[in-house]
Symmetry: C3
Subunit: 476 residues, 3 copies
Amino acid sequence: MTPLKLNPDRLFPAEPGVRAIARTIYHEISRLPLLSPHGHLDARLFRDNEPFSDPAHLLVSSDHYVVRLLHARGLSLDALGTRSRPGAPGDEQDHPLEGREIWRALCTHWEALGGTPSRLWLEHILSDLFELEERPSPETADSSYDHCVAMLQRDELRPRSLYRRFNLEVLTTTDPPAADLAVHDALLGDSSFTGRLLPTFRPDGVVDPNRADFTENLTALEQVTGIDLSDYAGLVRALEQRRDAFRERGATASDHGVEITTTEHLPEADAARLYRAVRAGEANAAQIEAFKGHMVSELARMAVDDGLVMQLHLGVARDYSRSVFERFGQDVGQDFPVNVEYTRTLRPMLSRFGDNPGFRAVLYTIDETLYSREIGPLVSYFPSLYAGAPWWFLDAPDAMARAFAAVGEVAGIANCSGFVDDTRSLCGIGARHDVARRSCAAYLARVVAEHRIGEDEAVALAKGYAYDTPKAVFKL
Amino acid sequence: MTPLKLNPDRLFPAEPGVRAIARTIYHEISRLPLLSPHGHLDARLFRDNEPFSDPAHLLVSSDHYVVRLLHARGLSLDALGTRSRPGAPGDEQDHPLEGREIWRALCTHWEALGGTPSRLWLEHILSDLFELEERPSPETADSSYDHCVAMLQRDELRPRSLYRRFNLEVLTTTDPPAADLAVHDALLGDSSFTGRLLPTFRPDGVVDPNRADFTENLTALEQVTGIDLSDYAGLVRALEQRRDAFRERGATASDHGVEITTTEHLPEADAARLYRAVRAGEANAAQIEAFKGHMVSELARMAVDDGLVMQLHLGVARDYSRSVFERFGQDVGQDFPVNVEYTRTLRPMLSRFGDNPGFRAVLYTIDETLYSREIGPLVSYFPSLYAGAPWWFLDAPDAMARAFAAVGEVAGIANCSGFVDDTRSLCGIGARHDVARRSCAAYLARVVAEHRIGEDEAVALAKGYAYDTPKAVFKL
Amino acid sequence: MTPLKLNPDRLFPAEPGVRAIARTIYHEISRLPLLSPHGHLDARLFRDNEPFSDPAHLLVSSDHYVVRLLHARGLSLDALGTRSRPGAPGDEQDHPLEGREIWRALCTHWEALGGTPSRLWLEHILSDLFELEERPSPETADSSYDHCVAMLQRDELRPRSLYRRFNLEVLTTTDPPAADLAVHDALLGDSSFTGRLLPTFRPDGVVDPNRADFTENLTALEQVTGIDLSDYAGLVRALEQRRDAFRERGATASDHGVEITTTEHLPEADAARLYRAVRAGEANAAQIEAFKGHMVSELARMAVDDGLVMQLHLGVARDYSRSVFERFGQDVGQDFPVNVEYTRTLRPMLSRFGDNPGFRAVLYTIDETLYSREIGPLVSYFPSLYAGAPWWFLDAPDAMARAFAAVGEVAGIANCSGFVDDTRSLCGIGARHDVARRSCAAYLARVVAEHRIGEDEAVALAKGYAYDTPKAVFKL
């Protein structure tokens, strides 16, 4: 049996002098409250506050990062507990044996995950939350599974306990415009829940005609708003109304993942004509492109008016294999980055709003060539812009080191909006923020050791990155 | 005189603690047998097993990496021994004086090569194989040349001796479909040759209508197969027949360097029509693009059927200057990387075969932006895919460190197919694999020192990278 | 009060063994004369040799790097002293109070600049030139401002004194073809000026029809040359005549920032026809693209004839926001990198001239993906090509480390043309070169510590990079 133990110096540079500085910086930020201004948890977790039943479904099947890595090892998505679209069972307790099998797969391939952030997070979770004391392995798969099942019965591992344990100050969900936000309402009215759970306005589904569910989403929006969406003015009004509804529930931000190549703002009449063509299914590819670009620009206009912070998450080829998508739906691990461009694309929008004190946007990328070429330079000039945290495939120590080095030099990390966990894994939130804080400390320690800034300055910048800046940028 | 000596710690990180870990890891892998599943040596070397006569032609003129670097220093391709296409002399012994001149050029510019992998490899070769004890310099050019000429007379430097000395277990050549493989046959039947020399099926010449020799290659294929290639069905049959012939000689892989922007599979009738247009010289650029993309997809279909592992080497502008190409032909150092895209391009092919247990592909790139953006994410999901070794301009310590850090984090190095030397330089095989193994140890040592994985895990991952994984991935 | 002090080991790697090697290398190059073969200073500074009056305008308002970073902190361009186009006051003394306000902004945001190269340069300038002994902060803003104002009265901070203090051997300006070069003439005839101030031929304005001032620039060129520019032959003759005029004033180089996607050379008649269409305002986008590409190729032809070294600076979206441009004009910090391509674009030009001993070109980029993919490979083959220094957003320690590691491996740093400061900030020249030399020493120290080259070789390569190579490459 090999012990599982978190080294207090993990992720710090090996050179003893730099490591000592990293420890000092980390010490100052490790206990600051967590802000999670972008994520994908289900709000019902906190309303219901039920104990989780199965560690395999909790830590493997519901985390598409881990599903992806184990699928690469040869396990089918079914064998990893991914539910098919029709007839997907509603909760984990139907599959106790399946859970044990999935857990065995994880333990068998534990070593092959070495070096990935998912392994770091899982180690943190298993050691810190589940108090597991031995490294996962095929030999100990059953005993560790039983141990984790037993642990899940404890109150400390219920959703609200985890919220407190992680010292979360704000947690956000991501929601379509038509979302009724009833769960958010319930939590707002529940005095026994002391956290802040805010919705985020994600209008992709109603501004991207390429999506299969475009019409369906518009119908849902029509129903929730009571506004006739047959014309463009209705669409604008409905979006504004829902933004207000989100803001009433505490939302401070919107999120945008529509793939665009322009943000050219069209005259109202042109936009209306395009929308009619789109709704009639008569728009060609260029028109759809123009419509999407205009809508992002129009959403920026709304942001100036109502103050929601725009988050841009571009550059993903989603639901890559059509057959897998048809069987399993979205978010099962088969989304991949593609090369992306911000500088030319956002030029019209930033020419209009980039210097407007009422505008704020956070630029994310999973094409890391953008850090020194586009995002760093743009955020180093525009007061409205901030560099988003390394995201998805890049939320890992080496990738974060590259992003810090690139954006930090071009723009200063004062222009970085701080870490977002962007997660569907409640248990992983603490681990993810810890990795980010350690990576920030590691970067700044090197900069101090190379006599570029003082240690006191590094501590201040680290505190900004970990807490003060995201609190201000996301208006929390 | 400055001594030439290989430091046992070369390429290991300078920090003493990390270096000690790197030593430990390297110690466990440095003597594992070499697998060379992708390369460009001439099989006749091993059939004939003649001594090499001239170190300058052996180490400079026949290695386009070194020719390139010395050309940049101002030496003409002629002065470096590059043969013009018409009337190129068949062997080196015609040029003893020319060899000495070339050697002087190498010695004169030795310092300017500092920092390049070619200098590392040459140092390794000169010190280890040629037992040269002084650093090359203009002053010692003649004496070192004479020394190397004398050394080449020794049996230890004949091809088969080098094969054994490098502890090679498998060596592969790269061959067009029409290759008769007679030399491979001869070696299979030669009990005095104890190595394994396998052909690799490289069909670029008969599926890329943009190549000047396209028609010529089809004629050669027609002759070797006896199949009428005037229609598409014939082309498919001929390719299948030759793949079988290659497999009978032990081939386990195919190799593909056709530049493509799609892998859309066409209905048979459409493919047949396109092929007719292509053969008639009537296809436009878009049709040629469609044909190439379809053919790569069709070759993937064959791979599923017969089990050959597909290697994809995209993104090279070959034979850059037409006038140089016309005079000297290909592979003289004037090929350059261009930006390339895999994720969108391979989507149709991976949607069909990515999850098929019978399919396997290895993705190489010399556009390193693909490591974290495309190759890492794709191989971290698809069980059929592996990340190829950093290749050509990237097969060097710093570039490998970047590739390990990028792919290692996204996918784990368990999804890397291991090093390939991809070389035309027999003498350099040992040095190249040694650099790769040291680089792997250096990367993993850092990951251990940062407490991300245990040292025992690092050793296991290093052994996988150096031997076990390529053996399995390439079905050796 | 926190002291402001330059650490002698700044920017050297933290590991003590590597740091010791870096010190040794740096010691050998730190006092070599400075060559500045690419920059943007106003030649009148040296003709007039007036004392500067205001530190805020000198170090903030006139340096668009610093303006950019403080604008990102929320200060308007006006508040930073950026002059509007109409009625811009001619010198700084009109704004003594404004200067103090700007200085306060700098001091207030000093910490937020931490990690950027501008902070490094400012620290160097303030400590070394201005003998400021305390770190800028809001509390000490007024006293440090008064201190700097007083210092500026000293002769040592006049332009010619700074030239000598920096140990400059050559300094270059960048000038349009129609520039009369009267100031250069005056300085050539002024025996009290012992420096060398050379013009650089920058013809962008007369070969890029997309520029708003294209016609205006041609008119100016017509006036200065007396050549009728209504036909293409006139344009060629005028360019040649001005190149000669520049060369008579010591120019050794031209500079090119026209965005191009081809360098296809057209037959004279086609070029003439295109030029007519362009002048008549009748050229479409494709024709403009063809014209620009042809002109760069034609300028390369001139370079072969007259020996001016071609510098290529591609990949900038200039004057990003039209409204800001209209109010403040160019070079106010709102220029941003875009992705760029060299290999395919330059193929026609390099096929013609790449191997011509009379041709020389230096390739710059602010899209750092080009270092290992395009620039490194190209300069590692073509004797005419050199890799330009990391430029603009990349002239900083971490970005330079990445560039050294990428180009250094592919091509050897012997194929790098050395550092250019590219600056509008006279005071910053010493600091910028010092950062570059320290970064070079840091890179080579690592390579030595990893036993890839000897320390003696590293010193020789560093001297080449710092002095010998740029002197030879730029024909100084």
